[in-house]
Symmetry: C2
Subunit: 414 residues, 2 copies
């Protein structure tokens, strides 16, 4: 069973927004055994949308379309779908009722353009969107399913979770796809590949191995496809065990989770607590951690100490340290980490201070210079990094390095 995802809208093609919808949809589809063959972004242009639909229809069984359903004139998806399927329009009573309810809830008058949002191609089935005014439309043609959804992420997510995925699952006998991911750190992709070369060469054709490198981590993903899910799982597990045995010292966890989530799991199991003291990462590490449900049993919080004043008042960094060595120094970052342990009363603390850029660099400390310290109650480890001259990248790489350093200190303490 193959799916394709088509996103409609100039905003992706001019780079104004990142297409996060497609990745989310692809993940959900894979989980129910539907492979995604292609993801395509096209503009709000009738001819181009028609071509994309025709090509997707040739390749895939299910075509999921997002975007271009707003009430305004630049949104042409509905008209184009009607043309593609050679349909007229009807005003759908169920869709109109939902629009009415939403406007009533927000106590806003119903405009003509909003009533028109309930106009749909007359041969489609309307699936009610409980979170917005654009209806979801289900079409069938030549044994293919086409679903058009709004591009607003949470409207699309609810529709997928509550309606589309359950319908696909109950309608088709889907093959099983089993993924197993091993997260590694402290080793490069090519070294890893050399270490596990023999295991990779021994994989049967229905099991594939992929290397997914990102910021000092490499994810190894085994993917197996077949009909017997239990058998696939068992097979994949055998190869995963072989890989883990071979590169054990670099393995963080054998789950497809983020590094910070793996750390949270390890710390939770040991009953350890964590705080953060961030300067140049500006809350990004805290954000990475607090994305994860249940983090509060480990993570207590911390400081975003951007100004000197806050480094002193919240973390107790000495004014003399800042004036003698500067904010980006081993001494300051050490006092930040140890200050976090002392003031926030956690078992471990992460501290980061650096020059994220693009300005603020000096000859001694160019943009990209970042000091990171990790403290436990017994020990502080500090290290300097020299990243790039790109701000966002410096923030992300600092966070990844800090998390890896914390992981290593946790492993040492075993």
């Amino acid at each position: 069973m193959l799916a394709e995802i088509i996103t409609i809208g100039d905003e992706i093609l001019i780079g104004q927004i990142v297409d996060t919808n497609s990745a989310w949809m692809a993940k959900q589809l894979n989980l129910i055994g539907v492979s995604v063959k292609q993801i395509t972004s096209v503009s709000d242009d009738e001819q181009h949308i028609l071509e994309a639909l025709a090509q997707a229809e040739k390749r895939a069984d299910i075509i999921l379309i997002t975007g271009g359903l707003g009430p305004t004139k630049d949104d042409i998806t509905k008209k184009t779908l009607a043309k593609y399927f050679n349909m007229g329009f009807r005003n759908d009573a169920g869709a109109l009722e939902m629009v009415r309810q939403i406007f009533e809830k927000y106590k806003r008058p119903l405009l003509d353009v909003n009533i028109q949002q309930a106009d749909v191609p007359d041969g489609c089935e309307v699936i009610v969107n409980r979170n917005g005014t654009a209806p979801c439309m289900w079409f069938e043609q030549n044994d293919r399913i086409f679903v058009s959804m709004p591009g607003v992420p949470y409207e699309m997510m609810y529709l997928m979770d509550d309606e589309i995925l359950p319908r696909i699952t109950s309608r088709f006998k889907l093959p099983s796809i089993v993924h197993k991911t091993i997260l590694t750190a402290n080793i490069g992709e090519s070294f890893l590949a050399k270490e596990i070369e023999e295991i990779e060469d021994s994989l049967p054709p229905h099991i594939k191995l992929a290397y997914l490198p990102k910021l000092g981590q490499v994810r190894l993903r085994l993917s197996a496809k077949g009909n017997d899910e239990a058998k696939l799982k068992a097979e994949v597990e055998v190869y995963a065990k072989q890989i883990i045995a071979k590169v054990n010292q670099f393995v963080v966890i054998d789950e497809d989770i983020a590094l910070e989530k793996a750390i949270l799991n390890i710390m939770k199991e040991k009953g350890l607590t964590l705080s953060t003291a961030e300067s140049c990462t500006g809350g990004y590490i805290a954000h990475l951690i607090t994305q994860h449900p249940g983090c509060s049993s480990v993570y207590w919080g911390g400081a975003v100490a951007y100004a000197y004043e806050l480094k002193e008042s919240i973390l107790g960094v000495k004014e003399s340290t800042l004036s003698t060595f500067g904010a980006v120094s081993e001494q300051t970052v050490t006092e930040m980490a140890e200050g976090a342990i002392k003031h926030f009363k956690t078992d471990y603390a992460i501290a980061v201070s650096g020059i994220a850029g693009p300005d603020g660099g000096t000859e001694d400390k160019p943009v990209g210079t970042v000091w990171i310290a990790i403290s436990s109650k017994h020990k502080t480890v500090a290290k300097v990094f020299n990243f790039s001259n790109k701000r966002i990248q410096n923030i992300e790489r600092s966070a990844a390095s800090a998390l890896t350093m914390l992981l290593n200190l946790l492993k040492e303490a075993v």
Copy 2:
């Protein structure tokens, strides 16, 4: 001049990573006057890649390809390109030298697979990648340009900035594309459309208006295409002024920048400072702010007060307030905001406390209940929101609402 972007790799199609590269590339291309016709993600499958290349070649002048250039066996882009262009392979001396230098810098032995990274289809021009071991390859065929780049974001970004974009600009006489964006808040998309309907109807065919809604904000984007950039700018400016005059009370700023950046600009101009006191948003607001270069002149930092203990110790929230009203309450969030003003000594402070979920809700305070307070030295405004049961979404919507509340308080103080 039309471009297409093709990303190669299963990781996007199984939803393991979000394709941020394409949005970035599209933005840069648009800035130099190249329109992106389509963005396509295909799997590491030879036949599928060949088809995508052939289709892109029909539609576009420049085809930019990322991904699938790693040293490992799942990466087949180079082999497939050689097949597409009917070329053999050569080991490129310049590319090999760069690989050598990178391994020397990190003091790692050079493996056979790394030497093979310098193997390239023999008819391509190699563009040296200074930030990684995969070479960038430039092909020309039938008046079309194909460029293959690594998928690692910062390697691709350097190559685009330093090599690819300058080559495209110097080679072609490109049309001008002028965009002008107006950021609005506190008004829905359809109301905005109704307000400016007459202006929209009066636009000439070469100027388009798009509505880009996101988390309580709507961006209005005017796009004009033609040959005379100065004339286009002047034209767009006329329509932008008309729109701004019509919906002035909802206009945040007439630039394509994020809401938090607009706020930073407003506060910087007035010499105002800001701090944050975050519970359920867990550093996300701080992160949004500190993404922006130069934020330190306004933003001093703040607390991520996840645990009760840190709400008390850093922000001075009273224990009795927490025990009487709970952490998610008007009283607590008010004390958090006022505590931030007092302890961090800033002019304004944002405080957020809520139940992000998926657990932790009660009958009175279900998941998605979020209290937000904004304090100045003279005033505190607090408001409760009821968002969804999705954690990430609650974090993002809380941040957007908090920023809008801050904006409104700043406007009030004018």
